[in-house]
Assembly symmetry: C2
Homo-oligomer: 552 residues x 2
């Protein structure tokens, strides 16, 4: 027999999963709820709806059509939030531009995405000034003056607030195919040009619903609930700020946007507006802790989800000592991004401080509708025993279906019908995914895999070391050997012996393979970092693979 | 320009929203988690997956095909849970039969749904025995003996566990169109035969995701989280037990199924297995409280969502006094069912015990993706001022798109592009929906609307009254007048004066219109109830509309 279908009533409301529906019911329950931008703006959700309408009206007046790309270059702002909704809701595509890339790469991404309209904060005028002659497809640039009373560049069509003020708040948004592309942005790979990922309306709606699931049942687990106050500390150009602005708006919670990240401003906004939930990379958490120590700000009760890099137990403990609830999450540009979140599920998971630190620094368990595996090179599923390493592969409805316009990379991404994260992970019998290393960062030496993350954590704790990282360098005898790259504390001179002290202890404890014992290291003044603040091992590999064996 | 679409990688995993995907990742994180059935069965999620496979294999062996209806008649059991998944995952349609209906109506619903296979608990053999000659389309009946060592009726093809034991656990479920019908069941309307509603895979997946949203952020709000232990106390034939078995399974929590509701067994299961979250109608909560009082069972920490009827503050307070967290929710057969849930969002909402009672007895605020309005007869939207009454109409992706095979009722249900609940509600400026009355129960008298629910609550508190309800009866002068139907306490004889005492006080306080003053009432030994335990005003109206004015 065929599957059963029924004929809906003629007037039954069709309900595609388009982003506009994330706003359904929001005005009813949160019309008077507030949105805050630094110390510059405070307005209600009722006004937010009007501002979303105004942005769409002004974009339409400037020629924006369905399918067109509108690029956003702003700090984390209420305007960015408005663009998250208005642009896709018009049927256009929002490009969230990584403003930390070199100008030439920003130009490349704007060209590749075929951006025709750009909204740009005045801080980024020099970038546009430098590259605009390379962007023939750009029809219109809208300036975001952010309160500054300065003349507009000659090449802009107008100013965001000025144009917005005279545009109609009553834009008539309509429904359309939920599989239309809503957002696009670029991920910087190991080689070559940045690669474009994209997400459809359906994907973003499903990600929003599934990733806000009840992970907060344990009071120890950081999660955004309907009585929280939200402030992002992840750039909004970076994978939809992990999807939280969509969740926060759907739930109708009070939101605070910090603009350009300034530690003092962040702590001030947090205390003034009672912020209870944020999310960031470890570096930003460190920055916040330092600022709070200087100002004496109280951080009690601030919940934070940490992603982007591994959350070290020491950092988690530092936050917890200040009364914060800290927990890891994991995802990437290709995954929208949320895949797993740390969660306490049993009394044992949260019984002691040490248990808490273990529970909440492991990347976590899958959110609903996510299927994960660890696999070997031949795509064989590996056991979930907590010790076997394999590449983490994923299935869920919100993964980028391709790299835009790059069939070869797309095929590689989806090889074997699973999306390849290129991260090496273990999965334990309770389903906890722990990221062990990047596939390309793992050190394969003497037939053993050395966990570069674990090794660099050990070296980081050695005497006289401020920061450390580990990369693989080619070795004639062993295949590869680990190379420690070390930034000393002021006035200190770490040695091969001193950096190996914690490593030897871990070997003696059986916590790491003896192949991890370091036989070479280099000292640098600072570690190179990527545009999102991660240590740039690509740069280190390029440099030290060529001069392997230095400084042993 | 057209909308933008991208070409997915050839191997990109397609991901329809079919029910099988609610199980994605569950085995990874909850393989060893337990499912309990009374004191008869305890098994792991790993075994659950096998049992779902076995059920599908045995149904297939008995001729079940895609599109076929498989009817379930069981108490709340692990088997029912298995059918929630196995039947729709095969592409067949699960009919959850309301076993409390009269046999003739059960026969009607089985005929109307074209059920070809019936799974039936031995307690319901007499029903099937009585009606099976009226069911020519039924090919196969499978007996659920529930551990009883008795001979099978001659007309069954085998026994659930016996057949299951020899069936393969490795049924190969495949994906298909997410808009295929997954479930169907019947709602008893005011007139005529029961009406069939149906829900697609897509609708059930979206309902599962959206209705488990983070309403539990406030510790005072009852909600199912990943560290809870779940036990349904709403019949599983009744609107998917409000969707919770799907949520609980997706989250991988421990589940306890109580079988036929027996208060002592329920309290025993609750304490033995540490149940922390349940849901039920007010009558069942009353029953549980009474049983606990008799046995001295500790109810502390038991979270309960109450729906089906209004949650009286007095009952909520009784539960709270025993350390329970009680909160209302609202929905109906046509809505899958969850539309709104009670929630504390501000400190004021939960500041005092009185505030808690107000917050958690109001039906609540919308869950994500739900849009509600109150409208007048002409579908004009009415203000959200907390006092204006109107019919509650709804839009969300999980509403039944029709009454199966009833075009006229379907058109009426969706008149004007909104689904009509036939409930009268107010919405306050914070978005709290409060159900005031059934559209057909409201008393329109002298140009005023009298809240029959409020009036019956007042009468219920009058001296000598055990239970009371209020219906409208025709009146030549006033259009309609309220008629109180009263069940006295043993040995008591309420009078028109005595039942009006709380009403007069409410009129004096301005809490109710003076048109509510009762001028007629009747005394009955008991109130008629529907199959799901609600007071059957339809029966009362039929009786007293014809003899209006009696007993004044």
């Amino acid at each position: 027999m065929p599957l059963r279908f029924v004929e809906p009533a003629a007037e039954a409301h069709p309900f595609p999963l388009t982003i506009r529906h994330l706003l359904d019911g929001v005005l009813t329950k949160a019309g008077d709820q507030r949105l805050i931008y630094r110390n510059q703006a405070s307005y209600s959700y009722r006004e937010l709806m009007g501002r979303i309408g105004r942005l769409a009206s002004l974009l339409e007046a400037l020629g924006t059509e369905q399918g067109m790309t509108v690029a956003m270059m702003d700090w984390d702002s209420h305007r960015y939030l408005e663009s998250y909704f208005a642009v896709p809701m018009m049927g256009a595509v929002l490009q969230t531009v990584n403003v930390r890339l070199p100008s030439s790469q920003i130009a490349y991404t704007l060209q590749h995405a075929k951006a025709e309209i750009i909204l740009v904060h005045r801080d980024f005028f020099p970038i546009i000034e430098a590259i605009r002659h390379t962007l023939p497809e750009v029809k219109t640039v809208i300036a975001i003056m952010d309160g500054a009373d300065e003349a507009l560049p000659t090449w802009v069509a107008g100013e965001y607030e000025t144009l917005s003020a005279v545009a109609s708040p009553d834009y008539s948004f309509v429904d359309f195919d939920e599989n239309a592309v809503a957002t696009t942005f670029y991920t910087t790979g190991t080689t070559g040009n940045p690669k474009g990922v994209c997400f459809t309306h359906r994907q973003l709606v499903l990600h929003t619903l599934a990733s806000c699931g009840p992970f907060g049942a344990s009071s120890a687990s950081p999660s955004l609930g309907i009585d929280d106050v939200y402030m992002p500390l992840t750039p909004m150009f970076h994978v939809h700020a992990w999807g939280l602005p969509y969740i926060a708006t759907m739930l109708g919670v009070k939101q605070v946007y910090p603009g350009r990240y300034e530690p003092a401003m962040i702590c001030d906004l947090r205390s003034r507006h009672g912020v209870t939930y944020s999310h960031c990379v470890p570096t930003v958490l460190e920055m916040v802790l330092k600022a709070a120590d200087q100002s004496g700000a109280d951080l009690t009760g601030w919940k934070m989800t940490i992603g982007g890099s591994a959350l070290a137990k020491a950092l988690c403990a530092e936050g917890r000592q200040r009364g914060m609830l800290i927990g890891a999450g994991y995802g990437m540009s290709e995954t929208c991004p949320v895949i797993v979140k740390a969660a306490g599920r049993t009394p044992e998971d949260v019984a002691t401080e040490e248990a808490m630190l273990s529970t909440f620094t492991v990347a976590g368990i899958t959110v609903p509708l996510v299927d994960v595996r660890i696999v070997d090179d031949a795509m064989n599923a590996l056991p979930h025993d907590g010790v076997t390493w394999g590449e983490l592969v994923v299935r869920t409805p919100w993964l980028t279906s391709c790299y835009v316009g790059d069939a070869k990379a797309s095929a590689e991404l989806w090889r074997g019908g699973w999306m390849h994260t290129q991260d090496i992970a273990t999965i334990d019998p309770q389903g906890r995914v722990q990221i062990r290393d990047r596939l390309k960062d793992v050190v394969k030496t003497g037939g053993e895999w050395v966990d570069s993350i674990q090794l660099e954590e050990l070296v980081s704790t050695s005497e006289g070391v401020a920061e450390a990282t580990v990369i693989a360098v080619p070795d004639a005898k062993w295949g590869e050997r680990p190379l420690a790259v070390v930034v000393p504390l002021p006035g200190m001179t770490p040695t091969l012996v001193s950096i190996n002290v914690p490593v030897e202890k871990a070997i003696a404890d059986g916590a790491i393979t003896r192949f991890a014992r370091l036989d070479r290291f280099v000292i640098l003044d600072a570690l190179p970092r990527t545009s999102v603040g991660k240590i740039d091992k690509k740069v280190l590999r390029a440099r030290f693979n060529e001069e392997a064996g230095v400084s042993t």
